[in-house]
Amino acid sequence: MDARQRRPVLKAWQRRILVRLATCIVPETATASAQSIDAMVDAVDGQLQPRPRLQQIAFKLLLLGLGWMTLLPAGWQASLLHLLEAFPIRLVRVGIWGLKTLIYLGYYGQESVQQRINYLPSKLEGNVLLHARRLPGRA
């Protein structure tokens, strides 16, 4: 189904929490363009779309549970998330892993971000560039 025709899984307030949490997971999202942020959230939504309804609800509950954290100073948020990432209860760790994974997917899955981190593969000329010993990307 075309992404434009899909009904979003995440509501506006859930998207806002996700964006705020993303600044803790990937700090550079704080200064990313609106276009990049929208692409990140859309990609997360796109991943949730085909998942079973229970998984969607679990993710929304996680956002709800972590939403209050985004009111804290950035340093505190990071400390708390680190604590939860290694929390003694496995289910909590799994939830944070899922959140991180989706944010990484939404951010590092973008072509513009991949270019920025010097990931510039070549479909046709990988071996040519290898033999020429030409490093990709910026100096």
Partner: protein
Amino acid sequence: MDTEFDILIIGSGAGGGTVASALSPLCADGARIAVLEWGPHFKDEEFTGGELEMAQKLFFESGAITNRDQTLTVACARGYGGSTLAYTGTSIEVPQRSVDHWNVPGLTIADLVPRMRHYKAQNNVHELSDEDINENNQLFAAGCRALGYSVKKFPVNIKGCKGSGMCNMGCPNGAKQGTNRVQLPAAEAAGVQVITNCRVHRILPHEVEAEVAPSPYGHPSAWPAGRYRLHAKVIVVAAGTMHSSALMAHSRLPVSLPALGRYFTCHPALTLIAQHDHPFLNYYGFPKTYYCDDFEEQDDYILETCMYFPFTTAKSLAGFGAEHSALMADFRRLQMILVLVSDQAEEGNRITPDADGNPVLHYTLSERTLDALVDSQRIAAKIFFAGGAARVHAPAADRFLIDKADSDQVDQLIDRRHLKLGKISIASAHPMGGCRIGTDPKNSVTNDRGKVHGLDWLYVADGSLFPGSSGVNPYVTIMALADRVAEGIRDRWRAGELR
């Protein structure tokens, strides 16, 4: 269209594609053979190399089917060629010790070797020349040699490789010689029908319920969308390890198969990432050239080179925030090693179907597997440092990065205490078992020729046949086992049993 067949093959990957090609000569003798493939037949231009796009197109659940406790993800592809679309093409023969350990009467290494070599020759398996080996691989070899470990080149099944490095997203140049390039086209040329976009919902005696659904990708299916009841004298299930067990259990077959879905193994794996001080040529060229199996026999793991893509890399790192971003900031400085554990076949690790027939994986990482995952990280870290890395990320370390200055403390810094399930990304691309070969129906599902116990019309021919872990990348072994299955069916056809 015809709904009566002699042989129906469900799935077109390393198992189904092999059975189709091995049985295709029977078409000249009047046999009606069809392959039913759930996924589409992708057009060449649809292999774009886009990480997220290809993950969604090629894989079930974007490559991350999770076990029930969500501590492991399993990648299973679908499409014309099955998981051979998405593997790296590394073609290692199963070692004798694995086959001996399986201990199945009639299944010997002497029988498997000629079959594996036949398909290796058919798929142009060879070792890369040194000039085509990039620095990500060279650094691994240098590190292993500096430490006195043996390092071997992977035999790979490529032809005309352009070094895109995108093997796991489907080769954009058609260079990988999977069943989509070799066995299936040959089978079709000989008269086998391949029906894509066709999901089998249920298997009944000599019959399957299937559905063709339109796909946004690929060539149109040979059949119009709709539900079908297809009849056959013999049905071969080769839907991939996860889906074969789930489909058979969902079908409620007319025999008791207590071992169905059980004894699942999957080579749980971790990706380790090191950072060098300077950029180097890491992702141009073929990504997976070397491996070290010094630790397979005693310690249950092997180490392989790998080079993944940005999102996959980011999620492989345990941690987040500024240190994670700093490591990801320049992809050209990253070196990667994959560690894979030969997990034990345990009855409780099993696949069951959900209400729709999709696989549900019940898998617990054993203490032995977890110990091997920790030990393998220590060895990988030493190889990184011996190869010149400045910093190493190991998911079971007490810190995000181990600095070279602390490289002599790797054994202490990487510890089982820090390996927290659910925090780290343990992944599998080698699901095996569930319909294991054996003689006793209490602990196996098929005989040594893949025929399901108690049903002379039903066979299995994919990775689910493995009685235990192969210990090495399994696809050549799957082809050899599928070839044995095809041979048994061919013998019955020639004896007149199936006409």
